[in-house]
């Protein structure tokens, strides 16, 4: 009985200690970000690893999600004779929700897990300690450029996801189901609002980018430096990122679209 309560207490303390470390880590990273802007080549390199290498999966998934939306949307809308609005339905679903959320989930699986594994391995092979002993701060040299790259890549990838998704909807709606080409685009142009829809979607994707990069880098930096520890940290990155994305999406949606 006593030990059970003790264990619960210990788990609670460990949890809050970890949360504390995560916030201290974020503050340290944010403080090193300006300096890492100056080291432009490091940033460009990370943009390639974090952003460019995630593009393929984002584009392919965006296309399929858009095509499915086209098919499903058409089947529903045609009952009401509203199939002309297919483009609006596809675009709004993508820009407001699926773009940021699905791109975020994919980004966490592709780039987030890779970041955790990379940093975790650097820690377990003493590369981070080694840097510290060479009087180089690993947070500004290694972590900050990756964080910034994640922050920049995520909104761009989400935008790409939505754009390709709309094209997917277009292939299905206009190419396959014979909707009018002009109506598709003009409906889309008149009904999708820049500020209300697109900007809010971009804000979501920036928030997701920040959270995913933070979780991924913290998990790597805080990992137990063994191969088992790195494996677990990688899994945690994906799970926690996914939960954070979905939870935050609900909160952000409630705040943004509540009129």
């Amino acid at each position: 009985m006593n030990t059970w309560i003790q264990q619960l207490g210990q788990a609670g303390i460990r949890f809050f200690q970890r949360v504390g470390r995560a916030f201290l880590f974020l503050i340290k990273v944010l403080m090193s970000v300006p300096a890492s802007l100056l080291r432009f080549n490091l940033l460009v390199q990370q943009l390639y690893y974090v952003g460019v290498l995630s593009m393929l999966i984002i584009v392919v998934s965006g296309l399929f999600v858009g095509m499915v939306l086209g098919l499903q949307g058409y089947n529903t809308l045609v009952d009401f004779g509203a199939e002309e609005s297919l483009s609006v339905m596809v675009a709004l679903s993508l820009v407001r929700e699926l773009g940021p959320v699905v791109a975020g989930l994919l980004f966490a699986g592709r780039a987030g897990s890779a970041l955790t594994a990379e940093i975790g391995l650097m820690k377990s092979t003493e590369q981070l300690s080694g840097m510290e002993m060479m009087a180089v701060d690993p947070v500004s040299r290694v972590i900050a450029p990756r964080f910034l790259a994640g922050l920049i890549s995520m909104p761009l990838l989400a935008a790409m996801f939505s754009a390709v998704g709309v094209l997917g909807g277009y292939f299905v709606g206009v190419g396959l189901l014979g909707l009018d080409d002009g109506a598709f685009w003009s409906q889309l142009q008149s009904k999708v609002d820049f500020q209300g829809d697109i900007l809010n979607g971009v804000i979501k994707s920036i928030v997701f980018g920040l959270v995913i990069s933070w979780i991924a880098l913290f998990e790597g930096y805080d990992t137990v430096p063994t191969s088992e520890g790195v494996g677990r940290a990688t899994t945690r990155t994906v799970v926690h990122s996914a939960l954070a994305i979905l939870g935050l999406d609900f909160i952000l949606t409630a705040l943004m679209f509540d009129e």
Binding site: G130, M133, M134
Partner: protein, 279 residues
């Protein structure tokens, strides 16, 4: 404890670069160091030996300021390491190198860029001079020809030599070697022994070598400390250590399975455990 007294009474003409006084360090409830005193004389090779898990790596991290003692002091070249600001600590670290057990080469950089790393981070030298310096440092560890290779293309011994070249890139006053011989074949071991000796003599450095390879270590060390269970149990020149009458020192030096460090991990009486399960 006995060794501490023995040590304090010694004539000690050399200046100490590192002075550890009454230093205690704990991890959780476990005391890794219990009020130890230790001196690293300038310009010499000092070996720190002891069974695995006694805290040899921990000691190097304490000296390098990555960990703080719970009590007591550690002075390096006159500065109290645990009281330095981050900036001063980094300044001090530029003057001390540490060779990690694994080499700790940056895996995404080539051999050349690894050795150039501290130069690029800490100096504004033009690229041509960095190039010359890097090749010089690599040449001094015999790996000038390998500058294009990536760390994963190096053997364990080569990786350690590259790490050594990187450590001497900024011409430190002191190098700490963490088990430089562990897991090396006899030839690499010979090369490393020779390099440590040579660098210490030619670059006028102070070296701390952490190791449990008795033969290699006694062949290069000027002084040896033996640590066990949080204490310094032996100190002296290699010859003094070999002739020491301390049971702990003899167990370690001769590799005896049982002695002051028992063969059995602490356990209840075997008979009771086998037959007394009901109780």
């Amino acid at each position: 404890m006995t060794a501490g007294i023995e040590y304090k009474n010694r004539e000690q003409p050399e200046r100490s670069l590192v002075k550890v006084r009454q230093m205690t360090f704990r991890r959780g409830s476990r005391t890794i160091f219990d009020e130890i005193d230790l001196d690293i004389p300038v310009g010499k090779v000092t070996a720190i030996m002891g069974p695995s898990g006694t805290g040899k790596t921990t000691l190097l991290r304490l000296i390098g300021g990555q960990l703080r003692p719970d009590s007591g002091t550690i002075h390096v070249d006159g500065d109290n390491v645990s009281e330095l600001s981050r900036r001063s600590l980094f300044k001090l670290r530029k003057r001390m190198g540490m060779l990690f057990q694994s080499g700790a080469l940056l895996t995404d950089l080539s051999v050349f860029d690894n050795v150039a790393f501290p130069l690029r981070e800490h100096t504004d030298l033009p690229e041509t001079i960095i190039h010359h310096l890097v090749l010089m440092k690599l040449n001094s560890v015999g790996l000038r020809g390998a500058y294009r290779l990536m760390p994963n293309e190096l053997s364990g011994g080569m990786a350690r030599r590259v790490a050594l070249a990187r450590t001497i890139a900024l011409d430190p006053m002191m190098i700490m070697y963490d088990e430089p011989f562990a897991g090396q074949d006899p030839i690499s071991m010979g090369v490393l022994v020779k390099l440590i000796k040579l660098l210490n003599a030619t670059l006028d450095m102070t070296s701390i070598v952490v190791s449990h390879d008795i033969h290699e270590t006694t062949s290069i060390a000027d002084y040896i400390y033996i640590l066990s269970e949080g204490k310094v149990v032996g100190f002296g020149t290699p010859q003094e250590i070999e002739e020491s009458e301390s049971a702990q020192v003899q167990q370690f030096m001769q590799g005896l399975a049982d002695g002051p460090v028992p063969f059995h991990y602490p356990a209840p009486d075997f008979k009771t455990e086998l037959f007394g399960l009901g109780g």
